[in-house]
Amino acid sequence: MMLISLLLIPLAAAGLIAVTRRRALMELLHTLAGLATLGAAAAVVAQVWNGAVLTAAGDLFRVDALSAFMVAIITLLGAIASLYAVGYIRAEFAGERLARARLFFALFQLFVFTMLLAVTTDNLGVMWVAVEGTTLATVFLVNLHQTRASLEAAYKYLILSSVGIALAFIGTALVYYAGAAKAGEIAVNWTALRDAAGSLNPEVVRLAFIFIIIGYGTKAGLAPMHTWLPDAHSEAPAPISALMSGVLLNVGLYAMIRFKAVVDVAVGPEFAARLLIGVGLFSLLVAAFFLVRPRNYKRMLAYSSVEHIGIICLGLGFGGYWGIFGALFHMVNHALSKSLLFILSGNILLKYHSTEIREVRGLLHAAPWTGALFLAGTLALIGLPPFAPFISEFIIFRAGFESHPWAAGTGVILLVIVFGGMLASVNGMLYGEPPADLPRGDALRLWLAPLAANFAFLLVLGLTLPSPFVAALQQVLKVLGI
């Protein structure tokens, strides 16, 4: 029951907002929906945490520990972004531009709904429909500012994601075929496939997984299918960038992880491992190449997402208990730190009216809160202690040096390059002389309050690695058969 309301709240909110005429009412609906979704998610996660597997509508919906893990990420960061979004949209689309604000709030909720649908269904076909739905829900958000650049970004995003996801459908159909050909009548359900995994035709499964990696890899932003990502993530309004980078990429990864669990049983773990390490390293390389000297801070954050998704894929590829553990942990950490930084990038944009790094000078002086938080967030993101990404990267590469030393070594070198490039760029933004005509003070200072949650999690996870959290990840690992 809780599971159904978790899905219905954002869907109903999207519908209600679409027919609302007053801004205050829209904002109220949007905020309440964000918090209510988080509440329903907390109830669902708590039940799964106690060992239950929730199902609804026959075998259509099924929430195990892996689904609950994703639900927690989506709804927590969704709630934080939705709170900030109210202030941001007031500033960006004030007064007369009510229609755009309405479109934003309605599509925001629809976007959250499609992500939740993707991770709570047991049916791999419905998951595919929902992931394609995430593209359709966000494409107008990317183009919300209606500039030429955002039009270009949105069109590329729509076309490339649609084609990518079409290839994922071939993978899904092939896996289904491998199951149906062996086990007779079989649903496209993940649980059924996992149970039949040992008897699937390995040749078909290998081909299918290549399509899955290309297809869902496009949604996850893996190089070389990442080309839409820097455009779309940098043109979207900040709260949407935060969710697209921090959360939606994880949904793409989630789909890959589900299939990997089946493929590992069907053809042995080495096949998926080699593919994932390959695309992971390539993503790191592409990102490092750009991040040596970025010119635009939103694009910098977007490329950094390509890098971190690459790191997570490395963890999945290195495999074993610690490799996967590190990958899951890093999914959380990247979501927390990247959504934080993208939200702050909205504040910087409101202040300086430019996304060029060289236009932004003296941020610490001109907007002290934004600047200080941006610095702290960047340090967390590039993997400095005491923040949690340091721990998860350490776990991943430790696992890597044991199983695949060459790949791990290359990865660490690329990581160091990114570290230097990003630190130098952010350094340039923080210090120096702010433009003379720029008034002092933060844009939307109070709206930044929800970010305290991001920092709290990043610090607590980084300093103590609490045992309930470890136990939760262990439950996810058990779902994956590790």
Binding site: L60, N123, G125, V126, W128, V129, E132, G133, L136, V139, F140, N143, Q146, R148, A149, L151, E152, A153, A154, Y155, K156, L158, I159, S162, V163, A166, F169, I170, T172, A173, L174, Y176, Y177, A180, A181, A187, V188, N201, E203, V204, L207, P230, D231, E235, F290, R295, R299
Partner: protein, 224 residues
């Protein structure tokens, strides 16, 4: 028992023929230069696929697959072509496929892609017991060529047509390999495709308004 075997053979032949026609229509899209003609080619292909679904539905006695065939006619045979024709009429373009590669080299690439498809897919089709499996390489060739059409086109509308041919190829592939994915999934896919095309239509207008052309070659401001 004998009658069953005969009809499997007949079905296999009919499926081969129709899959071949569908692939031929994909290639015809490259040759046709008028946009209206291209939309007609897509609509015709959708009808061929619907016919195939109904044939297989009759053979396997699947009511769901029959429903999929009907929905295919409605969505891809009638509604989407209507949307595309409206877009073509509104932007007033007639003869502009504007590919990067001309017809002759493009046809050669189609040939190469078909050979690749047979090379990759024949072993996989051989392990499939269904009477429709022989045509799997043809369907996969349609997917590859649809993909190539998308990459090779400069105009937004013709890119959308390439995408739709790709979609049709994937539908055919799933149909031949497994008698289609379950009904609810197929309906979700149709809904997604329809919404995607409607959104693409909006973007065609916006690109036209902003750049006074629907040449996506203009879309190259976002570079490092």
């Amino acid at each position: 028992m004998m009658g069953m075997a005969m009809s499997a053979e007949v079905l296999s032949k009919a499926v081969n023929l129709l899959a071949f026609v569908a692939l031929g229509l994909t290639i015809l899209l490259i040759v046709r230069s008028s946009l209206e003609g291209q939309v007609r080619v897509f609509a015709a292909q959708s009808f061929v696929l619907a016919l195939l679904s109904v044939l297989i539905a009759l053979y396997s006695g699947s009511l769901e697959l029959f429903g999929v065939g009907v929905a295919l006619v409605v969505v891809k045979g009638v509604m989407i072509p209507r949307v595309l024709n409206r877009a073509v009429a509104n932007i007033g373009l007639v003869r502009v496929a504007a590919p990067y590669l001309g017809t002759a080299p493009a046809l050669m690439i189609c040939g190469i892609l078909t050979i690749i498809s047979f090379y990759v897919m024949t072993p996989i089709a051989a392990s499939n017991p269904l009477p429709t499996a022989d045509a799997i390489p043809l369907a996969f060739a349609g997917v590859l060529i649809g993909f190539f059409i998308m990459v090779n086109r400069r105009r937004a509308v013709t890119q959308i047509l390439g995408f739709l041919m790709l979609e049709n190829g994937i539908f055919l592939l799933a149909l031949l390999a497994t008698y289609g994915v379950p009904f609810i999934v197929e309906m979700g896919v149709f809904l997604d495709v329809l919404v995607a095309v409607l959104i693409m239509e909006v973007f065609v207008y916006r690109i036209k308004d902003n750049f006074d052309s629907i040449d996506v070659g203009h879309l190259e401001d976002l570079k490092e």
